[in-house]
């Protein structure tokens, strides 16, 4: 079971996308960016997902502050599109918090969840 904590904007949309991809293999918690990041920090969740307009502001800034810059990555910036290969690499590198622009939620979330599920089944 992969536990996902969700913060930032349009959290419901993210949760829906997480559930559609991960089904029974994922568990989601919706909270504020602050609480959700603290959950990951405390080991109560495995990954953090967040969205905002640029993909790096409200989505990720508090997570970076609490978890450290090296643990976080923006996977889709405003005006850009997420790339599956890039996301796979980031998950393999051990990133645990992902930010994306609100425009990219539908596209990026399934990629992130698939990569996470793959990497966890290999382990």
């Amino acid at each position: 079971m992969i536990r996902i904590a969700i913060g930032g904007l349009r959290k419901e949309e993210i949760r829906k996308a997480v559930k559609e991809t991960g089904g029974e293999q994922v568990e989601t918690t919706i909270s504020s960016d602050f609480e959700a990041s603290k959950m990951v920090q405390a080991g109560k969740a495995d990954y953090y997902l967040g969205a905002c307009h640029s993909g790096g502001g409200a989505a990720l800034s508090v997570a970076i502050g609490l978890l450290g810059y090296t643990k976080c990555s923006t996977v889709a910036k405003a005006g850009g599109r997420p790339r599956p290969s890039e996301i796979e690499r980031l998950v393999r590198e051990g990133k645990i918090a992902f930010g994306m622009s609100v425009e990219a939620i539908e596209e990026a979330v399934p990629m992130i969840i698939q990569s996470i599920l793959q990497s966890s089944s290999i382990r």
Binding site: D33, S61, Y69, T74
Partner: protein, 438 residues
């Protein structure tokens, strides 16, 4: 947009100052660059890398929201001015270079926009005038954000209850039932006031009796809070400059006020102007509340502040009687914000639902603004070129959606409307299109 020396000097001073703040790692506008700043300040990241990250996070915003909003309203906006100075400031290797680059950007924007605007006025089909249609849907749409935010956070029952109350308030203000005759209040102002009040009450009610469980984040905050306090004089200067610009009608603080202010400055009736300015101030004040938790938390965890503070300088600037008072008010406000920063951080931990409310507020604001701007732009293109304009607009908007939204939704509609105007003019020149009203 008339050209004035005062405007150019004020804008250049403000962009030079914000570039310096970014150079020294004291404050940036972009909330996403703030948390990366400590990597640079503490030596784990070099300037070129940080500059390229800043550029990547901001370029989409500058090119879409920054340009579209200023072209359609003739008012400068923070995305256009201060996102670039974030980048220039971290890019510059010397302080004087940061100030020079920042100042040059300010001059370039003012000069560039006034050239573009005088070029646009010679077009046979007046599409810049038609873009005035954007303001009414934005005004009415924005006033509905509390209903959305409440539904988002507390479910549909409280949402529906609030919707009914807010609609009733709207009609009572509209029909002048609850206010004395001589007070001019827009119905939207009443809606916003009641809506936000309900949202805050629901949040506090949910948190009653709860105390924060986790502690221990404060200690790392202390050192970084001191760093922000040291920067106070510089923030005060920046606040004064930005407030003066906003007061003089050169600059609008955000997407929720810019269209209303533009309408206010072009309204013929002074009392109408006043009511619209008050509405813009209220809108930016409420939007500011939505941003407080984000800015406070990122500032406290990183020691890097925002160049416009918690954004409460905007309402003060619009309402001030003249630029001097605005500057003083802006400086005082931004200083006050800095002084209460750590207290605000602690209060936010006590009331997690208020913190969540800020996410709901920002989600709701974008959603209503996207709808309002889409419908407003539709009205504008129909005014420009009836259903010829409409078909061009819909084609452009749909294209952006299909291509995976290279232009963010917030800017897609105004930008598509501007392009529609240009295309209509081209068709007119080719004698392929005749406007209905001559």
């Amino acid at each position: 947009m008339e050209f004035s020396l005062l405007k150019m000097v004020l804008v250049a001073l403000s962009t030079a100052t914000t570039a310096l703040l970014s150079y020294y790692g004291r404050a940036v506008f972009h909330d996403g660059i703030r948390p990366i700043m400590p990597e640079f300040i503490e030596g784990r990241m070099k300037r070129p890398e940080l500059a390229s990250i800043s550029f990547g996070l901001s370029v989409g915003f500058i090119a879409s929201v920054g340009i579209a909003f200023t072209l359609s309203t003739q008012l400068l906006n923070p995305w256009l001015l201060f996102l670039p100075t974030d980048i220039l400031g971290v890019f510059a290797t010397r302080a004087w270079l940061a100030a020079l680059l920042g100042g040059t950007w300010g001059v370039a924007v003012v000069a560039g926009i006034s050239v573009v605007h005088s070029a646009l006025t010679v077009f046979p089909i007046d599409f810049i005038g038609a873009l005035g249609e954007l303001s009414s849907p934005v005004l009415a749409g924005f006033a509905l954000f509390p209903i959305l935010a409440i539904t988002y956070q507390f479910g549909w029952k409280k949402g529906a209850f609030s919707a009914v109350i807010i609609l009733l308030v709207r009609q009572m203000v509209e029909l002048n039932w609850i206010l004395p005759e001589d007070i001019h209040l827009l119905p939207e102002a009443g809606q916003l006031f009641v809506g936000t009040l309900l949202l805050a009450l629901f949040a506090l009610w949910k948190d009653r009796g709860k105390t924060s469980s986790e502690k221990g984040v404060h200690s790392i905050f202390e050192k970084r809070t001191r760093r922000i306090l040291q920067g106070l004089p510089f923030f005060a200067v920046t606040g004064a400059l930005i407030a003066a610009m906003a007061n003089l009608g050169y600059f609008a603080g955000s997407e929720v006020s810019i269209f209303t202010l533009q309408k206010a400055y072009s309204a013929a009736d002074p009392s109408h102007t006043q009511a619209l300015i008050q509405q813009a101030a209220l809108a930016d004040f409420l939007r500011g509340i939505g941003f407080v938790p984000l800015i406070v938390t990122t500032a406290l965890t990183t020691g890097v502040y925002g160049v416009v503070g918690l954004t409460f300088i905007f309402p003060i600037a619009y309402l001030a009687p003249n630029a001097v008072f605005a500057a003083i008010g802006g400086a005082l406000m931004i200083s006050l914000e800095v002084l209460i920063l750590s207290k605000a951080g602690k209060a936010l931990e006590k009331f997690p639902s208020l913190r969540e409310a800020s996410d709901s507020i920002r989600t709701a604001i974008t959603q209503v603004m996207e709808i309002a701007l889409l419908l407003g732009s539709t009205l504008a293109v129909v005014k420009m070129g009836e259903f010829t304009g409409f078909s061009i607009f819909v084609a452009l908007y749909a294209l952006n959606e299909v291509l995976g939204r290279p232009v963010v939704r917030l800017a897609a509609s105004p930008l598509a409307a501007i392009l529609t105007g240009l295309i209509l003019n081209l068709l007119y020149l080719l004698q392929l299109f005749t406007p209905a009203a001559g």
